[in-house]
Symmetry: C2
Subunit: 136 residues, 2 copies
C-alpha cells in the first residue's frame, strides 16, 4: 500500500479573507452545491491562533475534524476542545466560532447546508481577549 | 501536538451484512439524518477484497476517501482507482459499486442523501469475475 496517513488528507488551499477570519486560515473547496447536494463541502486549515469570526449558519453546519486540536464555542457557553475524529453538528441560528488553539493547528471538513441562497452570516471578530479566555 | 495522523481517522465500527456487502466491510456511523441534514454520514472500511453490491442512490452520494486505495465502478464503464484525498460525487439513479482493491484496504466517509425515506436501493453482488476484471 502506498498510502501515507502522516500527510494531510487535502491540500491547504487558498488563504481565507481577514474580513471573516483572524490569523492564517485556508480553504480547499471539495464540492459546490448542486442539484443533489444542498450544501457546500470544503477542507479548512487553521494555523495556530487562527479562527473564524463569530457567525451563524441558517441551516446548520457539520464539522469533521481531520487533523490537530482546536476550539469550538457557542455564544454564552464555555469553549470546547475539538480533536481529530470529532464530528460537530452545529445547530441553525446559533452564534459561534471555531478555529485552532493558540498553539496547535486544526483542520476540518465543513458540510455547510444552504437555506435559500445563504449558508452563513458573518458577525464580529473573536477578540484576542476572548480567544485567550477560550484557550485557558 | 498530540495528534497522530498515522492511525485511522475513525474507529472501524460494526461489520456490514453479507446481504449487501461482499467480504469484510464495516460501518462507523457518524451522524443520522436530522432536521438540518438531509443525509446520513458514516465512515466505511473495506478490507482487501471487500466491496458493496451493485446499488443505486435515488439522490446521489458523496464519497470522501480518507485512507488507502479502492475501486469505484458505474455500470457499463471501466472501474476507476480511488485514493486517499479523492472526492467522488455519485449521481442519482446510476447503478454502481465501490470497495477495496484485491490487495489494499480503502476507507471512505459517505454522505448519503435522502429522497423521501430512501437513500439506497440494493441490487446484485459484484461477482468474483467482475471484481477480478475491475482489478486489472
Amino acid at each position: 500500500m502506498n498510502e501515507q496517513n502522516n500527510t494531510s488528507l487535502f491540500p491547504k488551499g487558498e488563504k481565507l479573507p481577514g474580513e471573516w477570519f483572524s490569523g492564517n486560515a485556508f480553504l480547499h473547496p471539495l464540492l459546490a452545491r448542486d442539484k443533489n447536494n444542498d450544501f457546500a463541502l470544503g477542507s479548512v486549515t487553521f494555523e495556530p491562533g487562527a479562527r473564524t469570526h463569530w457567525h451563524i449558519h441558517p441551516k446548520g453546519q457539520i464539522l469533521i475534524i481531520t487533523e490537530g486540536e482546536g476550539l469550538y464555542q457557542e455564544k454564552g457557553k464555555p469553549a470546547q476542545r475539538i480533536h481529530r475524529g470529532d464530528v460537530i453538528n452545529i445547530p441553525e441560528n446559533v452564534e459561534h466560532w471555531h478555529g485552532a488553539t493558540a498553539h496547535s493547528k486544526m483542520i476540518h471538513i465543513a458540510v455547510t447546508n444552504y437555506q435559500g441562497d445563504t449558508n452563513v452570516t458573518w458577525l464580529s471578530p473573536v477578540t484576542n481577549e476572548a480567544f485567550s479566555e477560550a484557550n485557558k
